[in-house]
């Protein structure tokens, strides 16, 4: 006999295992964009996702992949909803997700900048002293090449020690 808890567990596991389309080493759970999985009394599954960047083109793929994966897991009716609040920050990336990023040569993000409850966002023009260690050789001597890289969420950096370029998931 399959209980409601079993069903929910199965749905949750299926949703959590979906890979991010642009960072395929991460699951949606690692990325922290999975905000909830519910199974209704009629057996319909509702999965709540939150976008990383507002314009992230991978969002459509994520929704389609979640729906496909859950149907493959035996759920005939799947709804994928969007949650905007609270907004996603890189702090939602799990420790496991950070480990996987680093293992693939992508520097994981540091702590996201604190959200100011009110007042103007200050503009800092002096160079920031924050270091991003090289994911290949571990050297702290790295520099930013470009704040924008192959995807909206990553910056491009270069290690001054081993001279390899690498990507960095921006703290946002």
């Amino acid at each position: 006999m399959v209980t409601a808890t079993d069903l929910l567990e199965r749905a949750r596991r299926a949703a959590e295992e979906v890979a991010d389309p642009e960072l395929p080493m991460l699951t949606l759970a690692d990325l922290g964009v999975l905000r909830g999985v519910e199974v209704g009394e009629d057996g319909a599954v509702t999965v709540a996702l939150t976008p990383t960047y507002t314009g992230c083109p991978a969002m459509a793929e994520m929704r389609a992949d979640v729906a496909r994966r859950l149907r493959a897991a035996g759920f005939a009716e799947v709804r994928v909803t969007t949650v905007l609040d609270p907004p996603w920050t890189t702090d939602w990336i799990t420790p496991e997700g950070r480990r996987k990023l680093a293992a693939c040569g992508i520097a994981p993000p540091g702590p996201a900048p604190a959200r100011r409850p009110q007042g103007p966002v200050p503009l800092t023009l002096s160079p920031t002293r924050r270091t991003v260690p090289c994911p290949r050789c571990g050297s702290a001597d790295t520099e930013e090449i470009s704040r924008f890289s192959a995807t909206a969420c990553k910056a491009l950096r270069r290690c001054r020690s081993c001279l390899e370029p690498f990507e960095h998931v921006k703290d946002i």
């Binding site: 793929e61 909803t81 023009l125 890289s149």
Partner: protein, 278 residues
């Protein structure tokens, strides 16, 4: 399903969602969100406001996309395209909210592709041609500083959907402003030629700023933006110019001659082949 790459997903059918590009396969960026207009909020007013903010974002995104294959180098091309993509995302959510709030039921495609130039409400600064890299940077600096100031306040909007869109946007806009500010300093404090172009760009952008400030009821936004512009100009060894503001406003549908050709390019395919899929 053995792998989950975007490319394999492209060739698979997504039930009735067999498409993935802008305006297709992802019909409602606010899908599943409670979209009731809260009590005490005028739906028509909220809709018109979201439409105007969406128009600023869409037109800016289109201009930024024009830099693809034309930017000084690959990194800047990616940066400008990424910024445009963020703005396009904001436009999609704002358009969707606009069509719900005003009761017209228009979706993002109706609003982006099937309105004529006089129906657009974007500020004129957004539609001006890209000019040189200095003009693009100074315009981006002014527009992102202004939009950031507006969105910071909108996080407290009585409409929870607009507040949530703004809260997401604040983080993106801070990044855009940072990018533009750093380039502005580098150009202003660079060679004689880059400095000359920066000065010219500031003089070209400045007359359009009053229109931005007048578009909002909050009177402290202008001061906040001017403080940022003075800070950046000062850091670059320049002075933000004092100029006479240009009368008129895109918010009233008054546009420059540059909007219609921009829209002709943006809307051409959608109008020639309504409902086209790929």
């Amino acid at each position: 399903m053995h792998d989950d790459t975007a490319y394999s997903a492209l060739s698979e059918e997504h039930e009735d969602d067999a498409r993935w590009a802008y305006g297709t396969g992802f019909h409602d960026p606010l899908h599943g969100i409670d979209t009731t207009v809260p009590e005490g909020v005028d739906g028509a007013e909220l809709g018109a406001y979201c439409l105007a903010l969406g128009d600023d974002a869409l037109i800016s995104a289109q201009r930024l996309a024009e830099w693809c294959a034309r930017a000084p180098d690959l990194e800047e091309e990616m940066a400008l395209a990424n910024i445009g993509l963020d703005l396009l995302g904001q436009a999609r959510m704002l358009y969707t909210r606009a069509g719900q709030a005003d009761g017209s039921g228009r979706d993002e495609d109706d609003l982006a592709y099937f309105r004529d130039p006089a129906e657009f409400r974007n500020v004129r600064l957004a539609e001006l041609p890209n000019g040189d890299f200095a003009f693009t940077i100074v315009r981006l600096l002014a527009l992102s500083a202004w939009r950031l100031a507006v969105f910071t306040r909108l996080t407290a909007s009585p409409d929870p959907v607009l507040a949530a869109v703004a809260a997401k946007g604040v983080k993106e806009l801070a990044y855009h402003r940072q990018y533009a500010a750093e380039w502005a300093v580098r150009l202003g404090d660079g060679t004689e030629e880059s400095r000359r172009r920066m000065v010219r760009a500031m003089e070209e952008v400045a007359p359009y700023l009053e229109e931005l400030y007048a578009a909002e009821t909050c009177t402290t936004i202008g001061e906040e933006v001017e403080a940022v512009l003075r800070q950046v100009a000062g850091e670059a060894g320049l002075a933000w110019p004092r100029v006479r503001p240009l009368p008129g406003s895109g918010r009233d549908g008054g546009h420059t001659e540059h909007l219609a050709p921009l829209l002709a390019e943006l809307q051409g395919t959608a109008r020639a082949f309504p409902g086209a899929a790929w």
